[in-house]
């Protein structure tokens, strides 16, 4: 009798544990159990709009990417080379490349939307993280920290379109309008058509991106810096480490997880960049990135097949980062 009771109690506990593991790391209080329907009623509005606006379109986009320009039938090749059903992907992947030989392919890659996106990732992610970290470190040592951080953070509040106007003004070719050209001519140089010069213009657009997003990196890194225990830093100083060593050997390793998070978030953001390029150059003069190319195919050339194929390539590039995001989330859940 007692044996059975003990066993059922143990079984019940095991069963509960198993269920907890299956659902989530955290426990819902026993007395709060409810009917089977209730949770779905709470979830229904959110799940419906998400299915309608995210899940269904994703599936539909994949289907459309194998169809013709109007999405009315399967894609048809118009000559060689032809990838059959993957014709739209051939266009998406190689349409901008000059495949005569390896060298031309390599050169054309770096002025294609993919090459530009890579430049954006490399420069903008490193730029925002490094500048954000520097500003967070500097601001931590002064009394006007809140003011300084507000100034750096402010561009986050305004639109990319607005930022495009602000910087279009700075980059203007007329030295009586554009500040940069005014400085160059005042120093005796001749004025530069910043946004029309291929190569240079992409870098200058990235500067705008850095201007906007450094506040984001700074805020998060600053919070992480403040989380580093002062005793550890003091101990390192007492042991004779100078500020430089303290930073590289103590502070940086401790905030490294946060730096990784910022980098991941920034890469995802950069891959989706559209507005800055759209407003400042319209994707002309060799500044096009993937999102702009997709927009052009869809809404200017009205070729949904090609446009959606580029969109699918974009999501394929993002998937690894999506995976990192989910993995990080699960690690955090395990630690709760």
């Amino acid at each position: 009798m007692t044996d059975v009771a003990a066993r059922t109690a143990e079984e019940r506990q095991q069963e509960r544990r198993r269920r907890q593991r299956a659902s989530t790391g955290r426990r819902v209080p026993e007395i709060m159990k409810q009917g089977a329907l209730a949770p779905w009623l709470y979830l229904a509005p959110a799940l419906i709009v998400m299915t309608l606006f995210i899940v269904y379109p994703m599936i539909n986009t994949i289907i459309l990417s194998f169809q013709n320009a109007n999405g009315t039938g399967p894609v048809v090749c118009r000559g060689e080379p032809c990838w059959g059903i993957f014709e739209n992907y051939r266009y998406a992947l190689t349409g901008e490349l000059n495949l005569t030989n390896f060298q031309t392919a390599w050169q054309s890659f770096w002025v294609s939307s993919y090459g530009n996106n890579i430049k954006w990732i490399l420069l903008m992610v490193s730029g925002t993280v490094i500048l954000g970290l520097i500003i967070a470190l500097l601001a931590d040592r002064v009394r006007y920290e809140p003011t300084a951080k507000s100034i750096i953070f402010m561009p986050m509040a305004i639109s990319f379109v607005g930022a495009g106007v602000i910087w279009g003004f700075v980059y203007n070719i007329d030295p009586d309008i554009g500040l940069l050209n005014a400085i160059i001519t005042a120093l005796g140089g001749s004025r530069v058509a910043f946004l029309q010069t291929p190569g240079l213009n992409t870098v200058l657009l990235i500067v705008v991106g850095i201007w906007i997003w450094t506040g984001f990196a700074m805020t998060i890194l600053s919070a992480a810096l403040k989380g580093v225990p002062t005793e550890i830093i003091e101990a390192a100083r007492v042991d004779g480490a100078n500020e430089w060593t303290v930073f590289w050997r103590v502070i940086l390793p401790m905030i490294m997880p946060t730096v990784t998070v910022v980098i991941t978030v920034m890469i995802i953001n950069v891959l989706k960049i559209f507005d800055i390029v759209y407003v400042m150059t319209g994707g002309n003069y060799g500044t096009e990135v993937m999102a702009n190319r997709m927009y052009r195919e869809m809404y200017i050339n009205f070729n949904t097949g090609r446009g959606t194929a580029i969109a699918v390539v974009l999501i394929l590039v993002i998937i690894p980062f999506m995976y990192l995001n989910v993995k990080r989330f699960q690690e955090q859940e395990a630690m709760r």
Binding site: S23, Q34, V55, L64, F153, I177, L179, Y299, M322, N325
Partner: protein, 402 residues
């Protein structure tokens, strides 16, 4: 003594820090400052001189001087007062010859039977313009005001005429020929920022409240309700956060075309709600799940059901999270261009659409563009500076704490 020296040392050791930080802050501020100053400058001044000349007045007087000295200085002198009875620095006299054509007319006339210019050639029309400009600055007439709010008025009503302002055009009646009524109705002109501002509000308010509401429900379910597949569903949701907007545009606009939702506010509200959902739920769930268990347990012991616990307990306690989320969603929708471009377009222009449209069609109209940009910054900056605390908190909750 020792302490004092420490303090001094500390002060000096921090100088590079101050220098670097203030320099960076200036770099961050100057572009926006330039835009702000320009938006308050008269149209003519914007096109002629850079905004940084506002503080120094050196530009006045130097312009047109070479032309003046070439054609006029010989007789009139450097100060314009060399000829008896003809004082070129007299504002009343100069006001009569404020246009180059009138000046040329005067120069062609004879004075006491002699040509005005003697044996010298007449200045060209450009040179005459330069001379009038010099004379105006010499006499102090036609001094442009340093600052004006005309750009804002013009941008709000959508007055895009070069060389004139809405208020001037209303005074001399030309505004009516351009389709303006010169009453408050002009604020609703579809080309103006006033109308766009209203459209932006109409888009943003429901597109902020709806996701907040749905996310609060779902966040509660994910943190305090038990159902099969909870963890999996939530993991999928975390993954959906990074789906690029561009992925979903084509299928949605095809559905909207069939339902007649293209160009309607309802379509944009629903789209923003759907797209804001994953992040909103993520944030709400993290916040609600972090509330103490005892709180909910004792509520249940007192006889509360889930609805009461949600409505009376979770929702009020989640106010800071709701505020953070509300700010995010508000800024996101207000600042969005792509969705507005695709689903609303020119039918119901919002601020971002109107500005990007002005960038491509207006070219050199910087006086309007800068004012328009600042009109669109008004609300986000107010929200940002007013509620910065919540904004930062939401940012941290979303990407670090998890």
């Amino acid at each position: 003594m020792n302490i004092n020296r420490d303090k001094v040392n500390k002060f000096f050791s921090k100088i590079p820090t101050h220098f670097a930080l203030i320099f960076l802050c200036l770099v961050w501020l100057v572009p926006t400052l330039g835009l702000l100053i320009t938006s308050f400058r008269p149209q003519q001044a914007v096109n002629e001189t850079g905004w940084w000349t506002v503080l120094s007045r050196k530009s006045a007087g130097s312009e047109g001087f070479p032309e003046y000295s070439q054609y006029c200085e010989e007789c009139h002198g450097a100060d314009g007062q060399a000829v008896e009875g003809v004082n070129l620095s007299d504002p009343e006299l100069i006001a009569r010859y404020s246009r180059s054509a009138r000046l040329l007319g005067l120069l062609r006339q004879e004075i006491d039977g002699q040509p005005h210019m003697g044996d010298n050639p007449l200045p060209s029309i450009d040179e005459a313009a330069a001379i009038t400009a010099y004379l105006s600055s010499l006499s102090g007439t036609e001094e442009l005001p340093t600052f004006t709010i005309n750009n804002y008025v013009d941008a709000l009503v959508g007055f895009r005429q070069q060389g004139s302002t809405y208020l001037e055009a209303c005074e001399d009646g030309t505004a009516r020929t351009l389709g303006f009524s010169c009453t408050a109705r002009d604020l609703l002109n579809p080309r103006g920022m006033g109308r766009a501002f209203i459209n932006s509000l109409i888009v943003t308010i429901p597109a902020t409240i709806l996701p907040l509401l749905f996310a609060a429900f779902a966040g509660y379910a994910f943190s305090w309700l038990d159902f099969p597949g909870r963890m999996w569903l939530f993991a999928i949701l975390v993954g959906l956060q990074v789906v690029p907007l561009q992925m979903t545009l084509v299928p949605i606009s095809r559905i909207y075309a069939r339902l007649g939702l293209n160009g309607t506010f309802l379509g944009v509200w629903l789209f923003h709600t759907g797209f804001g959902m994953p992040y909103a739920i993520y944030l709400m769930r993290n916040f609600l799940g972090g509330l103490p268990r005892d709180l909910f347990e004792s509520a249940y012991l007192d006889g509360a059901n889930h609805w009461t616990a949600f409505y009376r307990l979770a929702l009020p306690l989640a106010a800071p999270a709701l505020a953070a989320l509300g700010i995010f969603q508000f800024l996101w929708v207000w600042n969005d261009l792509l969705v507005a471009l695709v689903f609303l377009g020119g039918q119901r222009p919002v601020l971002t659409y109107q500005i990007s449209n002005m960038v491509s069609s207006l070219g050199a109209g910087w006086h309007l563009l800068t004012a328009a940009a600042f009109i669109s910054f008004l609300l986000p900056l107010a929200v940002f500076f007013g509620l910065q605390r919540y904004f930062v908190r939401g940012l941290l909750a979303g990407s670090v704490k998890g």
